[in-house]
């Protein structure tokens, strides 16, 4: 994995439907995954250039009442995205 900097699956669509509601839609499976605004913020960090630490820093900077376990939450969230095929890591040659 390239420095553990996750990136979104480029086929997946982020639909920011309302201020408080977004959906990730995978056109290959026709499945949708609901995201809250913090999830959207994290999703937008997953461009292959941000590490987990960068993601956590972005959450701390942009959100209020951030829990002490934020790093664990972000790690679990990203791991779930990867498990669902919505995000991944670039494969090194």
């Amino acid at each position: 994995m390239a420095d553990d900097k996750p990136q979104v699956n480029p086929s997946v669509i982020l639909r920011e439907e309302f201020d408080d509601w977004a959906v990730l839609f995978d056109p290959d499976t026709a499945e949708g995954y609901a995201l809250n605004p913090v999830g959207v913020l994290i999703w937008k960090q997953l461009d292959g250039s941000h590490s987990l630490d960068d993601v956590v820093a972005a959450v701390k900077e942009n959100c209020e009442e951030v829990p002490a376990e934020v790093a664990d939450h972000c790690r679990e969230f990203i791991a779930d995205l990867v498990k669902q095929g919505l995000a991944g890591y670039e494969v090194s040659k």
């Binding site: 086929s11 639909r15 920011e16 439907e17 309302f18 056109p27 290959d28 026709a30």
Partner: protein, 379 residues
């Protein structure tokens, strides 16, 4: 929102930043001239837009995070470059549906459709259990070709949807049609509607549209088929939908309810809150059945801007705040607070007014003309 004697207007659904899906007529051409086609009023003379023009529009849909397009026409499979158009949809991260008469479906194009993995379904129209019923309004030989089209889709494991349009020539063939589709052909489900007073149906209404007695027959038959086949048969319009809706309205009235939730207003259409349409000439419209309301043109006007700001589109959305009590047509109706006013396109095609309840779907009018509610209830 308007406060009325009937109560508060229904909450307007929230409008997303961009449409979720887009209905596209990719051609004006069709190899058939079905006598009740909503689309045609005359011979088609609009030149198809090129695949490149659609490709450019699909790129905009991608930027707008549209997830799905529905291709119709005309007959989509008449386009020689359909594969190129579908490839553009796939490249731009969308899924697709195709609405077809089924007669031009070939192994070659279906093999490609299957390979994309992005097809929700191809919908084929079947209106009879035997050729004479189906072909009566669609043209000789069309039944055999449509059934072969379905078989072709099944061979390639492409999901098939079938739509049965109920009319005067097939209203006594509905049991056989259900048996053909669900038992012999083995479809998981099919849907029904009836020919609306639009397009060619306006010229052929005497031959096509059900009489009051036939409407009653169709409702009873469809409810009986629902009891037999369960949710394998569905309808958003036509006799089955009317039977279900009218029974609910009548039950509520008999039970002394004042109203049903969100009823008593022009709430019969929610399409413009999640999707938009494009005519074959590239003009963006609220719905392909309200194609006279021109909102802009693809590749010239911003889809997101039209979706978010166009006054004519908001006017259609805001029908929901118009109480039925405003209309002379509805005055004194015992079903007023249980009614949706139904489809705006049917109202427009019948009366020339979008902001009006559809007379075609009016329960009181049906009863006044001697109609009876169906005898059987679902389940």
């Amino acid at each position: 929102m308007t406060q009325t004697a009937e109560g508060r207007a229904p909450e307007r659904p929230r409008v997303m930043g961009t449409p979720k899906s887009v209905d596209i007529d990719i051609t004006d051409r069709c190899n058939l001239r079905c006598r009740y086609c909503y689309f045609f009023t005359s011979s088609a003379d609009v030149k198809d837009l090129s695949a490149a023009e659609w490709q450019k529009f699909f790129e905009e849909l991608n930027r707008c995070a549209v997830t799905e397009v529905c291709l119709a026409g005309g007959e989509p499979f008449i386009r020689e470059d359909l594969q190129e158009i579908l490839a553009g949809i796939v490249r731009n991260r969308m899924r697709f549906n195709i609405l077809s008469n089924g007669t031009l479906i070939t192994d070659g194009i279906v093999e490609y459709i299957a390979s994309t993995g992005r097809c929700n379904y191809v919908q084929v129209s079947i209106d009879g259990s035997i050729p004479i019923t189906h072909d009566s309004f669609r043209g000789q030989g069309s039944f055999a070709q449509a059934v072969e089209g379905i078989r072709c889709l099944q061979r390639h494991k492409v999901p098939v949807a079938v739509r049965v349009t109920i009319h005067r020539q097939n209203v006594r063939d509905l049991e056989n049609i259900a048996a053909l589709l669900l038992e012999e052909i083995g479809l998981p489900a099919f849907s029904t509607n009836s020919a609306g007073y639009m397009g060619l149906c306006q010229k052929n209404t005497e031959q096509v549209q059900l009489t009051t007695e036939e409407r009653h027959l169709a409702m009873n038959t469809m409810l009986r088929l629902i009891r037999k086949y369960g949710n394998r048969i569905s309808a958003a319009a036509g006799p089955l939908a009317e039977a279900q809706g009218w029974l609910e309205m009548d039950r509520a009235r008999r039970e002394g309810k004042e109203s049903l939730p969100d009823r008593g207003f022009l709430v019969g259409c929610g399409c413009t809150f999640s999707k938009i349409a494009v005519r074959a000439d590239g003009v963006i419209v609220p719905c392909n059945m309200l194609s006279h309301i021109e909102l802009g043109r693809i590749n010239q006007d911003s889809l997101a801007d039209i979706w978010q700001n166009h006054p004519a589109l908001w006017k259609v959305r805001e029908r929901r705040a118009i109480p039925l009590s405003r209309f002379d047509f509805c005055r004194g109706c015992p079903y007023l607070n249980f009614c949706t006013g139904n489809c705006p396109a049917l109202a427009y095609n019948t009366l020339g007014e979008v902001d009006h309840p559809s007379p075609d779907a009016c329960l009181r009018k049906y009863l006044e003309e001697g109609g009876k509610l169906p005898e059987e209830e679902v389940g």
